[in-house]
């Protein structure tokens, strides 16, 4: 594997996380290589979202370490803002800034964190908008866009600063079924262009199509991990089998 030749972009080792007395993550180990797309699946409450939040330092860990390009980002000495600037995040509920236009949403970090001048940032922002097919919405405010359009803008905002790692947290869960496609197509495009992505999703058919590796989480532990064909067609663990069969019963297409 390429892990031996190049350093993994993300390395999570032995991460534990508790909320009060509830252990949400119980010793998670994951490596994500450059250009790899890793998909986290599992029931609600399995720890997918929490794991993504700890990687972006939006939640602290109670034990274990997380390395981004070899830097220990769980070290309390690191500047968390600088780490977060290197990671792009897309949230389930878009979290666009309603007081800023679409273009300003996309260029906010470029201008205020990376200190890129206005003209350059906006040129790049417009180029991104063209890429996601929303060029004519540059001056609109987020509330005027459909959910799918908002989520595409949120993705553009996350990749505008060319992050080393992209985290997608159930980005289609809040969307109407007919809008899911446009967002997932964009993610597929990001994979083509070589982004390194870790994502949590309930879209199993998409996971199968786009994932290099699928990780099944249950109750804060990794139950099974492997290429999508193996996880979906030939799961080894009984828990994985139960999860997938329940999902198929509920949603025959998946």
């Amino acid at each position: 594997m390429s892990e031996h030749t190049s350093r993994p972009v993300l390395r999570v080792t032995g991460v534990h996380k508790k909320f009060g007395d509830t252990a949400v993550l119980k010793g998670i180990d994951i490596e994500v290589a450059r250009h790899e797309v890793v998909v986290l699946i599992g029931a609600s409450g399995s720890g997918k979202s929490t794991l993504l939040k700890t990687v972006n330092l939006l939640e602290g860990v109670d034990d274990g370490q997380i390395f981004l390009q070899g830097d220990d980002i769980t070290d309390p000495r690191v500047n968390a803002d600088r780490i977060r600037a290197r990671i792009g995040v897309v949230f389930q509920h878009y979290n666009l800034f309603p007081h800023l236009s679409v273009l300003k949403n996309i260029t906010l970090a470029s201008r205020n964190v990376f200190k890129i001048d206005k003209a350059t940032a906006e040129a790049r922002g417009r180029e991104l908008l063209r890429r996601i097919g929303l060029e004519e919405k540059a001056t609109e405010y987020p509330d005027r866009l459909s959910g799918g359009q908002q989520q595409r803008v949120a993705i553009a905002r996350a990749i505008a600063t060319e992050p080393e790692l992209l985290l997608l947290d159930e980005i289609t869960s809040a969307l109407d079924p007919q809008l899911v496609g446009e967002v997932l197509d964009l993610v597929g495009e990001l994979k083509q262009s070589g982004s390194t992505i870790m994502m949590a999703t309930h879209e199993m058919s998409f996971a199968r199509r786009v994932a290099d590796r699928v990780i099944f989480l249950s109750q804060g532990r990794i139950v099974e991990a492997g290429p999508p064909e193996q996880i979906f067609d030939d799961p080894q663990q009984p828990e994985t089998k139960t999860f997938l069969s329940r999902l198929r019963a509920a949603e025959p297409g998946a």
């Binding site: 939640e59 034990d63 274990g64």
Partner: protein, 292 residues
């Protein structure tokens, strides 16, 4: 996948790894350090201010006329009695402001053509009373209204309460209106979909959320009113300020004012702390958020 570096976790208590123990130690050290720094900087700052004060050329005069302990002790009983009047006025004014301010806010947010006069009336009222200085309202209500002769002689604290209510209702109404309008329309829709009528929607769903959103601003108005209660002294009501004034005139020393000032601060302090505590609790309950 790498092997787990920790021993397998038991359900209850697992032994933290060395890395985590180091991190905890580092954080403890950081916390201790920042605590020490904050204590040190506070002490240094306080000492500097103190030195500046006592080395000022007029300090001994100021100390004698503003910070005289004997005068403070001798004037204390009268001022406390006066403060009791302030508290009474505040109590009734706060209740009246709550009622009247809410009615005004609701009047301003009513929809429908029939309610146009209410909306207009409330708008004119709030514009007028937010613009006019409280002192003028006190004079107009305290000296003007009794002169009309409709009522028997009423104590000045009564008119003071009315004047405070008139002015502060307009402030509170505007704050509440902002809160009502900040409640997302989807909340009204959800309430109406359950079959709640307009007023029940307002009372059970919109107003509680509105009040929560604007609690800090409302509390700010309340604290502000707490000290403006002292202005009723201009009408001749013997409140804390007026009592202090009488003492000042008899002993030719300003210390009673300082005593009254300290008492007003002490009066408002529990409320301020309560507000902070309450808003922090509401935030914890309703806004789930991480550490950022």
């Amino acid at each position: 996948m790498t092997n787990a570096t920790q021993p397998e976790a038991t359900l209850d208590e697992r032994q933290p790894s060395q890395v985590e123990l180091d991190r905890r130690a580092f954080r403890r050290k950081q916390n201790a350090r920042s605590l020490l720094i904050s204590i040190a900087s506070t002490i240094i700052f306080a000492v500097l201010v103190w030195l500046l004060l006592i080395n000022s050329p007029g300090w001994s005069d100021v100390q004698r006329s503003f910070f005289d302990l004997d005068t403070a002790i001798s004037s204390f009983p009268q001022i406390i009695v006066g403060l009791w009047l302030n508290i009474q006025v505040l109590f009734f004014a706060a209740i009246l402001v709550g009622i009247f301010g809410s009615l005004l806010a609701i009047a301003r947010t009513l929809r429908g053509a029939v309610f146009a006069p209410f909306r207009l009336g409330a708008a004119i009222y709030t514009d007028f009373f937010r613009g006019i200085p409280l002192l003028l309202v006190l004079y107009l209500v305290g000296f003007g209204v009794p002169a009309l002769g409709f009522t028997e002689r009423l104590p000045m604290q009564f008119w003071g309460t009315i004047a405070l209510t008139l002015t502060y209702s307009s402030y509170v109404a505007e704050v509440l209106r902002a809160g009502i309008e900040a409640v997302h329309p989807s909340q009204r829709m959800a309430a109406r979909s359950l079959g709640l009528g307009y007023s029940k929607t307002l009372r059970l769903v919109v107003l509680p959320q509105a009040v929560r959103k604007v609690t800090p601003a409302l509390m700010n108005d309340f604290v502000s009113m707490q000290k403006d209660v002292g202005l009723i002294s201009v009408l001749g009501a013997v409140d804390a300020i007026r009592a202090a004034q009488i003492e000042v005139a008899s002993v030719y020393n300003f210390t009673p004012y300082v005593v009254a000032g300290i008492l007003f601060v002490l009066l408002s302090w529990p409320m301020i702390r309560l507000t902070d505590w309450y808003t922090a609790r509401a935030q914890r309950r309703e806004q789930m958020g991480g550490q950022v």
